[in-house]
Amino acid sequence: MDGVLGMGGYAAYVWPAYGITAVVMLGLLITSLREMRKNESQLAALKQAHPRRRARAEEGQS
């Protein structure tokens, strides 16, 4: 176990590398998800408030 965590004396470089990668990737994932949730819920709320728009949109599509 010490072999893996210790990384042959290079733990101070290897683990931060993986750590930074994880932080950036998770950060991207979380911000993207949050943004999407926010926008989609806002859109749903707006559609709720303006149900007529939906009808009009469908009519416009035909």
Partner: protein
């Protein structure tokens, strides 16, 4: 409305792809990390630090790949005026910037034990830094206009102009004699890497790619929703 290829179709397709890409990302990451951290030997020269490779190299590939992806999307947007292409380009930029950043930081962390310095001004390192600036410039430009479509179009021209940099980064190591290693995996013909290291490397590369696809879907969905919100707002202002 032929120009406005139906985003609804995209959303349906994305809905199908999303669980697969997300699931694959998790599975590939698990396998890649296991092999990379436990199941592969240390390098006879570089020792355990070689394990940094499994995040450093895939993120470098992704940095270049995402930019190429953006340039293609931009060309599509400019030539065929496909609105989804603009959205894809815009949604890709922050992800590409993220990967490029990871490549730089992990490279620096690798450089300290290997070369004895965090940073050196050699061709590949600096051209990667420039790539990061190209991403940042693209993000800034796209958001610098009051009218989002204007920003998208300007961004498309910039992405194409900046694409010149990608081959320079890719081949800088071959053209100039530098500290950094030349390509050994992606070189034409047989890769010059031990399969025990090649397997986790390729697994991580695939994992990063599916991760990118997942993020792209989320971000495009978000962007499309934002467009629609703006549209509804606009109707409120001007009375649809």
């Amino acid at each position: 409305m032929h120009r406005f290829a139906n985003p609804a179709r995209f959303l349906r397709a994305a809905q199908l792809v999303l669980p697969w890409s997300a699931g694959l990302t998790v599975a590939l990451l698990a396998a890649g990390l296991y092999l990379g951290l436990l199941g592969s030997p240390a390098d006879y020269q570089q020792g355990e630090t070689v394990r940094i490779m499994y995040v450093h190299v895939p993120s470098a590939w992704m940095g270049l790949f995402v930019y190429s992806n953006m340039a293609i999307a931009s060309a599509v947007a400019l030539i065929w005026k496909h609105p989804l292409a603009d959205v894809v380009a815009k949604a890709s930029a922050p992800v590409g910037a993220g990967f490029t950043f990871v490549c730089l930081v992990t490279g620096a962390l690798w450089g300290k034990p290997m070369w004895g310095t965090w940073w050196a001004w050699d061709a590949r390192l600096t051209s990667m830094l420039i790539l990061l600036f190209l991403y940042l410039g693209h993000m800034a430009l796209v958001n610098a206009f009051d009218d989002p479509t204007r920003g998208a179009k300007a961004g498309a021209v910039l992405a194409l102009a900046g694409f010149v940099n990608v081959p320079i980064i890719k081949y800088s190591v071959d053209w100039w004699n530098t500290l950094h290693q030349p390509a050994s995996v992606t070189r034409v013909g047989m890769p010059a890497v031990d399969p025990a290291m090649l397997t986790p490397l390729l697994l991580m590369g695939l994992a990063f790619t599916t991760f990118f696809v997942t993020l792209l879907i989320l971000r495009v969905r978000s962007e499309l929703a934002a467009t629609k919100i703006r549209a509804i707002r606009m109707v409120q202002v001007h009375g649809g």
